[in-house]
C-alpha cells in the first residue's frame, strides 16, 4: 500500500541551531544612510538544511517515483546521463560575456542543437533564447508582429485566432503581445471547424495558433487545408509544440505548412521539470521569417562558432542572455544519444495512449474520434462523479493524477498522457484504479486522498486569507 511521508517539519526560519558556514568576519565602509540595519535570514547548521530538504523531498511525488500521466505535460523519464553532462564544470563555469574563443564548446552545443531542431521540425531557422514554452509563444507572436509591422499591415492585422481547445498560454501570449484574441469553436469531431475558421479569418487576421494533434490528442488531417485558408489570407500559421511527442519522427510542422513553431524541451526532449521549471522554449521559423529572430543566434564561420547579432529586422532580445544553456545541453545530449530511435519513443507513446484509452472506454466516456495520438481526454460525467474527486482518489494509490478540467470543451475532463516511459504493468494498475474510482460511492470518494502527506486542502481559505510568508 502506498503511504507518503508526512513530517511536521519546521520552517527554516524556526530552526535556531546557528549557522556553521565559516567565513572570516569582514566589514566594509558604507555611508550610514545606505547601511542595512537588520537582516532576518534563517540561522541553522548546514546539516539541518540538508535534513530539512530531505524531509520535504519525501513529501513530494516525482516521475522517478512513479507514473505521472499529466496530459499536455509529457512527463517522461529524465535520463541521468543528461544531469551528469549538465554538471560538468567545463560547461557550468562559462560566463555569458566571456570571449567567444573561450566558449567554443558551449557554442558548438547550441549550434548543433539548432541544427537538430531544424531537422526534427522541418523548419529553416531556430532561436534557443526563450526560457519556457509560453515564452517561446510570446517570442513567436512578437515575430508575427514585427513581420506585419515591416509590411505596414500591423494596424490592420490585429487579431489572432485560437481554437477553443487551445492551451491557456496561447491566448495569454497573443494578448500580451498586443493582439485581440478571436476564439473559434471545434466541430463535432473535436477538430477545427473549417467553416467557422473561414468565417473568422479576415483581413484583420495576423495568425492562427494551433497544436496538432490538438489537446484532445486527435490529429487534424485537414491541416493542409487549414494552412491554405490561413496563407491565402496573408496570415501566418503558428504551431504550439507542446504536443510534439505525438509526431516526432513521423511528420513535422514544417511539412504541415506551419510558419512558426515553439518546442518545449522539458516535455519532448526529456529535460527535468524541477517542480515547475526551469524549462526551455526554442522557436523555429521558415526562412522568410529569419530576419526577425531574436539576437544573437548561434552561427559558424571559418573562425569557429559565434554569437551572431547580424539579424536585419530582429525583434531584439527576449532573455537576459542566450537561453537556458543547462537545459539546452540536456536536450542536445538526449537527441544525440537517441538519434533516429526518437521515432520509436513516439510510436511507444502513441501505443500507450491508445491502449489506455481503449481500456478506459469501458468505464468512462471518451468523446470524439477513436484513434488518439500521445494523449486523450475522457469525461467522468457518466460515472456521476466529478473529475476532481476521481483525480484525488487516484493519488491514494501512489500514482499521479492526470490533468483535469482541460481542455475546456469536454465536461469533467480528465486528460491522460502516459508517455513512452509507462510500462504495460503500470498502466494496467492505473486502469484498475480508474475503474475502482468509477464505481466508488459518490460521497465516500470525497474523503480521498488519505495516504498522501496531507488530505484535501482548503483552497478557498488559502485565497481568502492570503498567507504567502512564514
Amino acid at each position: 500500500m502506498y503511504r507518503q511521508a508526512h513530517y511536521d517539519e519546521d520552517f527554516l526560519i524556526d530552526y535556531n541551531t546557528g549557522s556553521d558556514y565559516l567565513l572570516e568576519e569582514e566589514n566594509c565602509d558604507l555611508p550610514e544612510n545606505m547601511k542595512r540595519k537588520s537582516l532576518k535570514l534563517p540561522n541553522l547548521r548546514s546539516f539541518d538544511v540538508s535534513r530539512h530538504y530531505t524531509k520535504l523531498s519525501e513529501m513530494n511525488y516525482s516521475v522517478d517515483v512513479g507514473m505521472y500521466p499529466l496530459g499536455s505535460c509529457t512527463m517522461k523519464y529524465n535520463p541521468k546521463y543528461n544531469d551528469y553532462i549538465a554538471s560538468m564544470e567545463t560547461f557550468t563555469d562559462v560566463h555569458p560575456m566571456d570571449y567567444g574563443m573561450n566558449m567554443q564548446g558551449s557554442l558548438e552545443i547550441m549550434y548543433n542543437l539548432q541544427e537538430y531542431l531544424k531537422s526534427i521540425s522541418g523548419m529553416d531557422c531556430v532561436t534557443l533564447q526563450p526560457s519556457a514554452g509560453a515564452h517561446g509563444e510570446f517570442t513567436g507572436i512578437l515575430i508575427v508582429r514585427k513581420y506585419f509591422e515591416m509590411r505596414n499591415e500591423l494596424n490592420q492585422r490585429n487579431e489572432i485566432i485560437i481554437p477553443d481547445s487551445a492551451h491557456g498560454t496561447n491566448p495569454a501570449s497573443a494578448s500580451m503581445a498586443g493582439f485581440k484574441v478571436i476564439e473559434v469553436p471545434s466541430d463535432e469531431n473535436g477538430l477545427i471547424d473549417l467553416n467557422a475558421l473561414d468565417a473568422a479569418v479576415s483581413e484583420n487576421t495576423a495568425a492562427f495558433m494551433i497544436t496538432n494533434p490538438n489537446t484532445l490528442g486527435i490529429f487534424d488531417d485537414n491541416i493542409l487545408k487549414i494552412a491554405e485558408i490561413i496563407h491565402k489570407n496573408g496570415a501566418l500559421l503558428y504551431y504550439d509544440g507542446a504536443n510534439f511527442n505525438a509526431i516526432l519522427g513521423i511528420t513535422t510542422p514544417g511539412i504541415m505548412g506551419f510558419d512558426i513553431v515553439h518546442f518545449n524541451l522539458h516535455k519532448t526532449f526529456a529535460t527535468p521539470h524541477g517542480g515547475g521549471g526551469p524549462g526551455s522554449g526554442p522557436v523555429a521559423v521558415k526562412s522568410f521569417l529569419k530576419d526577425f529572430l531574436p539576437v544573437p543566434v548561434i552561427s559558424k564561420n571559418e573562425g569557429g562558432y559565434f554569437l551572431d547579432y547580424n539579424v536585419k529586422n530582429t525583434i531584439g532580445k527576449v532573455s537576459s542572455y542566450y537561453g537556458s544553456f543547462a537545459i539546452l545541453l540536456r536536450a542536445y545530449s538526449y537527441i544525440l544519444k537517441n538519434g533516429n530511435d526518437l521515432k520509436k519513443n513516439t510510436q511507444k507513446a502513441v501505443l500507450n495512449s491508445n491502449y489506455m484509452a481503449d481500456q478506459l472506454r469501458k468505464y468512462y466516456t471518451i468523446p470524439y474520434k477513436k484513434l488518439k495520438k500521445h494523449e486523450f481526454v475522457l469525461s467522468t460525467e457518466n460515472t456521476g462523479k466529478r473529475a476532481l474527486d476521481i483525480s484525488k482518489f487516484i493519488l491514494d494509490y501512489g500514482i499521479h493524477s492526470p490533468t483535469t478540467y482541460f481542455p475546456l470543451i469536454v465536461k469533467e475532463a480528465v486528460m491522460i498522457e502516459p508517455t513512452e516511459s509507462s510500462t504495460k504493468k503500470e498502466m494496467d494498475f492505473y486502469i484498475d484504479v480508474m475503474k475502482k474510482a468509477a464505481f466508488m460511492d459518490s460521497d465516500a470518494i470525497k474523503s480521498y486522498p488519505i495516504n498522501t502527506s496531507v488530505g484535501r486542502i482548503d483552497e478557498v481559505k488559502a485565497a481568502r486569507n492570503l498567507i504567502m510568508h512564514w
Binding site: S57, V63, I85, G276, K317, S320, V454, I457
Partner: protein, 429 residues
C-alpha cells in the same frame, strides 16, 4: 508476445504504423538525425566538445557572477523528488516542493523587506519587463522613466514586454559622480508617469545614494527597484525605501553561470498589488485534518484560468532554482551574506587601488559593489595575458559618450593573486 505486441493486439492492430493511419501519406517524413549512441560514446563525444571551452582568470560580472556555491545546494536540487516533479497541480502529493517554494517566497521577502514575493520568474531582465506591465495594470499611466545607462539587453526586453501597450519611455540622467540625477528625474515625473525604474547598485556598478531618495520625488508613480541580492547583506533593502516592486537576477544565490541560463527572476511587491501580479503564488492553508498545507493560490490571475485576460502568460517558471536560492541563503545565514557582501565591496576597493597604482583610473569616484568601471579599452592585451574581463560600457549600454570605459568585476572568489596578475599584466599599457 512482448507487452507492445500484446497492446497492439488488444487494439486489433498489426503494427505501429496502424497507430498513425490518421496522418496522411503526404505529411510523412523520414527523419535522419543519426544512429543512437551508447552512453559511453555519448559522454566521450560531449567531453570532447566541452574541452574546447577555456577557463581564463575572470573579471567578468555585469549581472552574472562567479560566486562560491556550497556543495549542499547542488545536492538538494539534484534530489529526484524535486528535480523530476512537475508543477504542483496536485498539492496533496506535492507538499515538498510547495513548502520549499513557500519558504523561497518568505526568504526573498525578508531579504528585500517587501510584502510578497512570487514563486519565481525566468530571469532578472524579463522580470523587469513584467514589472513594468504590472505597474501599468495598477495605474494605467503611460510614461516609464528609465535610467539612461541601463543595459541595452534590459531595455530591449522591456520594450518587447510592453510592445502591445500604449506606453512610452522617458530617460533620466546621471550626475558627474555617476549617481542618479535627482533633479533631472524629478523634472520628468508628472501625472502620466506610470513607473520609475531605479537601479541600486546602478549600471556603473556604484552603490547609489540617490536611488534611495527617489521616494521623495515619486509623486504617484510606482518605484521599480532593480537590486543585487548579494548586496542586500549590507545595503538598505528596497522595501525600506518605498519600492513598489523589487526585481533582481537571482543567479548569484547558488546557481551556476552556465553561460547565462537558466537564471532566476526575483519578483517582489507591495501586498496591495497582489491581484495585478504575474506568476505563481504559494499560499498556506490547512487540510481537512487541520494539518498545515500549501497550495498554489490566486490562480484566477493566471493563463490556464484567465486565458487572454491573464496577468501574464507565464506558466513554467524557475521553481528548482528558487529552491537553490533558498538553500543558499539558509546555508549562509545573515552573517554569511553580510560577510560576502562586505568582502565584495572590499575587493572592489582593493582592485581600484591596484589599478590606480599602475595608472588606470576609475571613471567615477564612489563605492562600487561588484562591477568597477575604469578608463581602459585595450582588450587585446587582456586576451593575450589570459584574462577575461574588460566589458566595454559602450557595448552593453547606450552610453556612447565615454568611449574608453570598461568593467572589471570581482566576487569573493577573486583572489589577491588574480588582482596582482591583472595589474602586472596591464602595467605600462
Amino acid at each position: 508476445m512482448n507487452d507492445d505486441e500484446l497492446m497492439l493486439k488488444s487494439l486489433a492492430m498489426g503494427t505501429f504504423d496502424d497507430l498513425f493511419s490518421d496522418i496522411p501519406e503526404e505529411l510523412r517524413v523520414n527523419m535522419d538525425i543519426g544512429k543512437p549512441l551508447s552512453e559511453q560514446k555519448l559522454i566521450e563525444k560531449i567531453k570532447k566538445i566541452s574541452g574546447q571551452n577555456v577557463n581564463m582568470v575572470k573579471f567578468l560580472g555585469n549581472g552574472i557572477y562567479d560566486r562560491y556555491i556550497p556543495h549542499l545546494v547542488d545536492e538538494i536540487i539534484s534530489r529526484n523528488e524535486f528535480l523530476t516533479s512537475y508543477t504542483p497541480y496536485q498539492p496533496e502529493i506535492s507538499q515538498g516542493i510547495l513548502n520549499a517554494l513557500f519558504e523561497y517566497q518568505s526568504v526573498i521577502s525578508d531579504l528585500t523587506e517587501m510584502d510578497v514575493t512570487n514563486s519565481s520568474m525566468y530571469d532578472g531582465f524579463t522580470s523587469l519587463g513584467e514589472a513594468v506591465r504590472m505597474a501599468y495594470r495598477v495605474n494605467g499611466k503611460s510614461e516609464i522613466l528609465i535610467p539612461e545607462n541601463i543595459y541595452r539587453a534590459k531595455y530591449e526586453i522591456i520594450k518587447n514586454y510592453v510592445y502591445g501597450l500604449n506606453v512610452k519611455f522617458v530617460e533620466y540622467g546621471f550626475n558627474k559622480n555617476g549617481l542618479l540625477d535627482l533633479d533631472d528625474l524629478s523634472s520628468k515625473i508628472n501625472d502620466s508617469t506610470s513607473s520609475i525604474i531605479v537601479e541600486n547598485p546602478n549600471a556603473f556598478g556604484l552603490i547609489d545614494e540617490n536611488a534611495i531618495r527617489v521616494r521623495e520625488i515619486k509623486k504617484n508613480a510606482l518605484i521599480i527597484t532593480y537590486y543585487d541580492p548579494i548586496s542586500l547583506g549590507i545595503l538598505k533593502p528596497p522595501g525600506e525605501y518605498d519600492s513598489d516592486i523589487a526585481i533582481a537576477e537571482g543567479q548569484q544565490l547558488g546557481i551556476h553561470m552556465n553561460m547565462g541560463g537558466p537564471l532566476l527572476g526575483l519578483f517582489s511587491f507591495k501586498k496591495d498589488y497582489v491581484h495585478k501580479s504575474p506568476g505563481r503564488l504559494i499560499g498556506l492553508s490547512n487540510d481537512k485534518n487541520g494539518n498545515k498545507a500549501f497550495v498554489m493560490t490566486l490562480q484566477a490571475r493566471e493563463q490556464h484560468i484567465r486565458r487572454a485576460k491573464a496577468m501574464s502568460n507565464i506558466c513554467s517558471n524557475q521553481a528548482l532554482l528558487a529552491v537553490a536560492a533558498t538553500a543558499y541563503l539558509s546555508i549562509l545565514g545573515g552573517s554569511g551574506l553580510r560577510n560576502i557582501a562586505s568582502i565584495t565591496v572590499n575587493k572592489s576597493k582593493k582592485l581600484k587601488e591596484k589599478m590606480k597604482s599602475i595608472g588606470i583610473n576609475t571613471v567615477f569616484d564612489g563605492i562600487n559593489f561588484s562591477d568597477n568601471l575604469f578608463h581602459f579599452d585595450k582588450i587585446d592585451i587582456l586576451k593575450k595575458k589570459g584574462i577575461a574581463g574588460g566589458i566595454k560600457l559602450s557595448d552593453i549600454t547606450y552610453m556612447n559618450g565615454i568611449t574608453d570605459a570598461s568593467f572589471f568585476s570581482v566576487t569573493e572568489k577573486t583572489s589577491n593573486e588574480d588582482m596582482d596578475y591583472l595589474a602586472e599584466s596591464l602595467r605600462g599599457f
